[in-house]
Amino acid sequence: MGKSLYQKVWEAHAVGTLADGRTQLFIGTHLIHEVTSPQAFGMLRDLGLSVKFPARTFATIDHIVPTINQDAPADPLAAEMMQALRQNADDFGITYFDLASGKQGIVHVVGPEQGITQPGTTIACGDSHTATHGAFGAIAFGIGTTQVRDVLATQTMAMEPLKVRRIEVNGRLRPGVYAKDVTLHIIRKLGAKGGIGFAYEYAGEVFDAMSMEERMTVCNMAIEGGARCGYVNPDQKTCDYLKGRPYVDMSDWDATVARWLSFASDADAHYDDIVRIDAAEIEPTVTWGISPDHGIAVSECIPDPAAAATAGEKATIEEALAYMKLPAGTPIKGVRIDVAFIGSCTNGRLSDFRETARFLKGRKVAAGVKAIAVPGSQIVAIQCEQEGIDKIFEEAGFEWRGAGCSMCLAMNPDKLIGDQICASSSNRNFKGRQGSPTGRTILMSPVMVAAAAVMGAVADAREVFEIAEAAA
């Protein structure tokens, strides 16, 4: 029996077995940001420890960075966190893509952009969306701060092995259906906790056909489905994307490519579970509630608790609708929005802005809608600006901002106010996630956010932008 990529990477990085039965796993690449690392450095200092492999940790700053005047947070706490990261990087000799570097951005955008994220590697970061890096055939885990300490001190951490579920999506996506819809659809089908105990292997024609950036969008939300990590097997596209990037060793490219591709799952690999989904069944998907698995096709109605199958499901729908203040059983299409947000580690890359700009060109954001576009990194911002994409967004009525996490969460000045509803290209619709304890989030693809911005309400981008079915 062959091996899955997960198994191969795990075996290559297993240092040994700990007394409690867990594996001591070597973490080849460690990414840090300002929110979850200062306490870890504090613990390190308390224990009198140093960083074992400083060259294998990379830092950037994203969560607290203001997207207007990036380097001048008005908030003294944010300034303190900024200062702490600078100090820790300097004290321990860690590479830091700071605001002045021109390479700063959301950690999950920066890693791939710099070529730090590579196939067959293990990656950890004190951030749950670390699964994003799995798009390159890496096994990438979000970890807690004490584990950040462990990785700093030893470049290893204690870890229980996972089971592997292969999620195969075959066929072709219909026009107007994007990677975001695929990942929201999978979560809708398997549930927010369906992936507990699993690594997700995304396979099949749909993922084969996706660009690297689209694969990142899918892997990014593995955690929203409960999976600890998600990955796509490396292929030629993976290697092409990485070729020539700053942290890729180009000295023996052919050998590197061969080694990377050797990590791909064997044809006869063992899987603990296999799920098959038909690409044709996936529609533009939006959330209606307060968990990422509260997803429906944009053509569907908001669930009605009266129609719930179980008492538990009924209570869940009631709680979600009470928070969202949405009427049960009515179409989601047409729900008014106040804010439109395009950005985040899910959908804040060049291809997201390029694709959205195609449709936004010549259109106007509806009166009363606050629309912001936030590139995932300084490099993404520059690429967009070189292509004139920023102008298209601005002419349509979007604010074009500096790189950061922005309105994905509430740690910088970009926040919802009161019970505003936001059409958002981010990954979480939890209560209060976007900064107001009563703020409401509807997750969707960037093109769908643009459609909602133009209409002032949740809309089907295929209708708004006349995205036609290709002739068969």
């Binding site: 990085h13 700990l18 303190e80 951030d127 290893t156 080694r259 509430a410 939890f430």
Partner: protein, 200 residues
């Protein structure tokens, strides 16, 4: 590093209803603007404990004086889902919780809690409902989590078998829930692994 052997945790319980209680609910992100974990306890469940518009205390169980001083949190399915922020278990621990009982836990939350020496054990839905009713009827009921006998009992006479990932149970009971000492002991093996990997 000698750590406490955590074999048993006892205390009064408090039930927090709802499925999929995420880490943003446990500790809203705006309270994560800090460079230490000190003082996080007072912000646990902040946005559901205080009315967002008026700032008044809500009817959240944590505001109910009958459950003041409870040290065992009882919850539903998928507790602690969402972000990897250790701020969540840290805030619960600093608030005064010594253990969490739920129907199921999100994995990162579970691992983070274990590493702090805060056991997270699961019971089935019926057992959780029984405990909920028991503490509702009499908040003075004491709940005991016994990690050696693998059961949860109460002073009201209940006893249920508990579940916990075996490696976590072992780590707690044997006093090695913080693995740093053992990880450091394997430095030669770590270096050998690093030497084998092309990219390190």
């Amino acid at each position: 590093m000698a750590l406490e052997k955590i074999t048993q945790v006892s205390g009064r319980g408090i039930f927090v209803p709802g499925a999929d209680i995420d880490t943003d609910r446990i500790i809203p992100a705006r309270f994560m603007k800090c460079v230490t974990f000190d003082g996080l306890g007072e912000f646990a469940f902040y946005d559901v404990r205080f009315d967002p518009t008026t700032g008044e205390k809500t009817e959240h169980p944590l505001n109910d004086d009958r459950f003041k001083g409870a040290s065992i949190l009882i919850a539903g399915v998928n507790f602690g889902c969402g972000s990897s922020r250790e701020h969540a278990p840290q805030s619960l621990s600093k608030y005064g919780f010594k253990a969490v009982i739920a129907e199921s836990f999100a994995e990162i939350f579970f691992g983070n809690s274990t590493t702090l020496g805060m056991p997270c054990v699961t019971l089935d839905a019926a057992a959780i409902a029984t405990l909920r009713d028991a503490i509702e009827a009499d908040p003075a009921v004491t709940i005991t989590i016994d990690l050696v006998a693998k059961q949860v009992s109460s002073s009201a006479g209940h006893c249920f078998p508990l579940n916990i990932v075996e490696s976590a149970r072992d780590a707690l009971v044997a006093g090695r829930w913080d693995p740093i000492g053992e990880l450091l002991d394997h430095t030669p093996q770590i270096e050998a692994t690093a030497a084998r990997l092309h990219y390190v």
